[in-house]
């Protein structure tokens, strides 16, 4: 009894309608999978970027804002942390390491961060991984710059290339620090975090290029000569830093230290635990995600209803076909089974094609996310939970197939031998 063969031949006969139906379902499934995948991948990407940092300290501001401008380069700081406070923080007994971040300059759309060697020594991302230099070395000369993987790749930079930084961030970066060109001394290995999109210079260099810029623009004649700067490198330091990343001796100390920093009297500060602030961020974006999920779910429902429409429409045309099958010995449940099988096959093909489409879209969107947000989005296999949802959709497709199947079942019983047209 080769019923499946019959069902397949019948489907092939109606291939255009069937393929369109599969496509409808595939698109709806792709949307659903994409929303779900992107959500988890973006979250993973954010977590990976801050996983090794216990506290982020900046001037008094909203925690989410501090997290976004310090680590992810989204938005700007309104205030800075004084140099003295930074040094105090670094010297606190609970603190194992402190990485200063002095922002405010750009290079061809990428962030430039003034920092110290602590970055290369102590910064951790992902599974507690340290930064690695793919080529070259960290800061040696005062005007050395270490560039992230994507910066070097996108701008086609090599060790020894000389570059000029721009003053200001975003679209305001119009003025160039052209009197202080930098030499690329190192290129970092890829991390899949915003590090890849960043250029790093030393704090003294950050200070040196801003001498004479105290009013926010260049005061001709007030700048410091590069060689002069090199001689004075040891005494150069910025007046303030944008934020400080802290690693603690023991994680248990994090709550106490956070409170002490937030209550710091000499300066209004905000200390955040990046993981907890991310949770807050997800709570805000959660509503939008929920809406996207509902929309995706509705689209899937529309796809399945489209399939039901096609099956019901063809049911009338196929009444003759069913009477022929019945007269030749097919049992009513076999005819009903053909329709359920059809619905299941269409749904299964739609789901498989949809997942494929989603993975393709993810692969296509990955470079954009990487260059825009520095987020590395892997084309990953959907998680178990998502597969369960997809299985549920397949079940719903089969259940929807029961509607025409039951109608066909009752008709074949009622029609008897007659081929009613």
């Amino acid at each position: 009894m080769n019923l499946l063969g019959l069902a397949l031949r019948s489907l092939i006969n109606r291939r255009f309608a069937v393929i369109l139906t599969i496509l409808t379902i595939a698109l709806s499934i792709a949307l659903l999978v994409l929303v779900e995948q992107m959500r988890s991948e973006v979250r993973d990407g954010f977590y990976r970027s801050v996983s090794g940092t216990d506290l982020i300290v900046g001037a008094r501001t909203a925690p989410i804002q501090l997290l976004l401008y310090s680590v992810f380069g989204i938005g700007d700081a309104t205030n800075n942390v004084s140099w003295q406070t930074y040094q105090e923080l670094a010297g606190t007994s609970d603190v194992a390491w402190a990485i200063p971040m002095a922002l405010g300059d750009m290079h061809r759309g990428y962030r430039v961060m003034g920092t110290s060697d602590a970055l290369f020594e102590h910064f951790r991302y992902g599974d507690r991984r340290a930064l690695e230099l793919a080529e070259g070395r960290a800061f040696d000369d005062l005007f050395d710059v270490v560039v992230g993987h994507q910066v070097a790749r996108q701008l086609d930079y090599d060790i020894g290339d000389r570059i000029v930084l721009s003053h200001g961030t975003g679209s305001t970066a119009l003025q160039q620090h052209e009197e202080h060109p930098f030499t690329i001394s190192g290129i970092l290995a890829p991390t899949g975090t915003p590090v890849d999109q960043t250029l790093y210079i030393s704090l003294p260099a950050h200070r040196a290029i801003h001498i004479g810029w105290e009013r926010g623009t260049r005061m001709p004649g007030a700048e410091i000569d590069p060689d002069q700067a090199r001689e004075r490198a040891d005494e150069l330091h910025p007046e303030s830093v944008t934020a400080v990343l802290l690693g603690l001796q023991t994680r248990a100390a994090v709550f106490g230290l956070q409170r002490r920093i937030n209550d710091y009297r000499a300066e209004a500060l905000t200390a955040i635990m990046p993981g907890i602030t991310l949770q807050e961020l997800w709570r805000i974006t959660g509503l939008a995600e929920q809406i996207l999920r509902v929309v995706a779910g509705m689209v899937v429902l529309a796809g399945l209803l489209g399939m039901l429409t096609v099956l019901l429409t063809t049911l009338n045309e196929r009444r003759r076909e069913m009477a022929i099958l019945r007269a030749n010995g097919a049992r009513p449940w076999q005819i009903a089974g053909l329709l359920v099988f059809e619905a299941g096959l269409i749904a299964a093909c739609g789901i498989i094609a949809g997942v494929g489409l989603a993975l393709l879209a993810q692969a296509l969107a990955a470079p954009w996310l990487l260059t825009t947000f520095g987020l590395h989005v892997a084309v990953s296999w959907p998680a178990t939970g998502l597969w369960l949802v997809l299985g549920g959709i397949l079940g719903a497709g089969l259940a929807i197939g029961l509607v025409p199947a039951l109608m066909a079942y009752r008709r074949t019983l009622a029609d008897g031998m007659q081929v009613r047209m």
Binding site: L6, R320, I324, A327, A330, R331, P332, G416
Partner: protein
């Protein structure tokens, strides 16, 4: 009458369609012998479709018995009647017999997909199909074509081959020639006769056209035996 020689025996059969007040069938006695070629003359509306449905086990009578090979169809479960139909009956409709999206050969072997014993009796199913198509005078080059690419006459011959595959005990033919030109009708009946004989099947041939009745073993008029007297 010798009941043991009857393939089909109908006794006091009454059937009323749901929602109707008058019965469509009320038959005191009706028989078909083994291997008999019976011409049942009935105009449309005389209840012949209902009678064929009852014989095929698709319509369950309100009253009376339908004995097929001494088994009362009314006593069988739905599944058993489906099996009976698949194993023992070949059916030819007036037209639209074939699944348009299947090729000719697959259409002929269709009953063997639903009944193992039918397939067993056919032996090599593909060879049996070819043999029957040969006998029904269908050119070999047509056999791989889709059924809907054939002319009506060719389709009816394919339908006859399908009705006969696996040697069913009874072939039901419901106006199988009405869609054919008059000069093709006699040729079709002759081909059908020879193959029904070769298969050892009985033939119940229903038509409103008395001219076709000539070569049958027996002729019965449905309006005569159907006491329900449905208006023609």
């Amino acid at each position: 009458m010798n009941t043991n020689s009857d393939l089909l025996r109908i006794e006091e059969l009454r059937y009323t369609w749901p929602g109707e007040s008058r019965p469509v069938l009320d038959i005191g006695e009706f028989t078909i012998g083994r291997g008999e070629r019976l011409f049942l003359r009935g105009p449309s509306g005389s209840g012949k479709s209902t009678l064929l449905g009852a014989i095929a086990g698709l319509v369950r009578p309100d009253h009376g018995r339908i004995l097929f090979d001494r088994t009362d169809l009314g006593s069988l479960s739905n599944a058993a009647r489906d099996r009976f139909r698949a194993e023992q009956l070949g059916v030819i409709f007036q037209q639209f017999n074939l699944l348009p999206w299947l090729d000719v050969r697959a259409n002929v072997t269709l009953p063997c997909r639903f009944s193992r014993s039918r397939a067993r009796r056919a032996g090599n199913v593909a060879a049996a199909a070819d043999h029957l198509l040969d006998a029904m005078d269908l050119a070999p080059e047509l056999r791989a074509k889709r059924a809907d690419e054939l002319s009506v006459g060719q389709q009816q011959r394919v339908a006859a081959a399908r009705a006969l595959i696996g040697k069913p005990q009874l072939v039901l033919a419901d106006e199988p020639t009405s869609a054919l030109d008059s000069d093709r009708r006699q040729a079709f009946i002759e081909l059908l006769f020879s193959q029904v004989e070769a298969a050892g099947s009985a033939l119940l041939f229903v038509s409103h056209d008395p001219d076709l009745a000539r070569d049958f073993d027996r002729e019965v008029s449905l309006p005569t035996i159907n006491r329900a007297g449905v208006a023609a």
